[in-house]
Symmetry: none
Subunit: 153 residues, 2 copies
């Protein structure tokens, strides 16, 4: 049934409406594991973007975080800074999720947003930010080639 095999691919430019909602591309909704119950967990990405994990994938992240030694202050800080910005979002009948204001600000998104598939997760970018990062990293073509050689696709 799912030709994408439950992985998120492709890139779509959608608009954030006045209420801070954004549409999850239909193909990505179809690729979402039914066990996630139409729900993603949004949080800060490692780059300047919003990351959306399927609920089931996020569960695994939580398990990893809980296993850390909370006796150490640095670890508590690490957990707090991830979980603090995380919020579960279920999309409505039209396939939209309301993005928390804090995350919109973090990713500097205004009206237009680029939704990028990342296999097991989704990233939401300010199109300009993504382009800027892209050109900056593409210049470092040597590093890319090293990775390419390593995995041999």
């Amino acid at each position: 049934m799912d030709s994408t095999g439950n992985s998120f691919t492709g890139s779509y430019t959608y608009t954030l409406d006045a209420k801070g909602r954004i549409n999850i591309p239909a193909k990505m909704r179809k690729a979402l594991d039914p066990a996630s119950d139409a729900t993603f967990v949004a949080t800060r990405g490692n780059d300047a973007c919003i990351t959306l994990y399927p609920a089931t994938v996020w569960k695994q992240v939580e398990v990893k975080l809980l296993a850390l030694d909370k006796g150490k202050p640095a670890i508590r800080h690490y957990i707090r800074n991830i979980v603090r910005h995380a919020e579960a979002l279920q999309y409505d009948g039209q396939g939209r999720v309301p993005l928390p204001a804090g995350l919109i600000e973090y990713a500097s998104i205004t009206k237009s947003a680029e939704i990028v598939g990342m296999i097991d997760r989704i990233e939401i970018w300010n199109p300009e930010s993504l382009k800027a990062l892209e050109t900056r990293l593409t210049d470092d073509s040597e590093a890319l080639e090293n990775i390419a050689n390593e995995i041999d696709i």
Copy 2:
């Protein structure tokens, strides 16, 4: 129903009213295990905050504390400092809990308070204290990177 699957996430800035009550965010109330019977156990956090454990989780904390070697003075001290400030709080019809004055003082909370999800527990902070700790620990980015590499989210 609750998509996060009974885990506490996100961060909310709410106000402490004149009676020392604070609202538990609706999403966190929904995430609370029904077996906890609308009850949290509040006590001093490891950091300068108030920690709220769901009643069921607190039970496990007690078990762990009991297992410690009470022959050592330092351990008795540690146990005493957690347990003596612990108080069970059930939220009212409006979803609010009365915070004990001693804990409010410990966390230096006045009017505004930041409620932070920590997966299996909740922390209540003075927003300034949290920000201060954050900038201090974020500076130690090396430690954070080590953790990040270790768990690979």
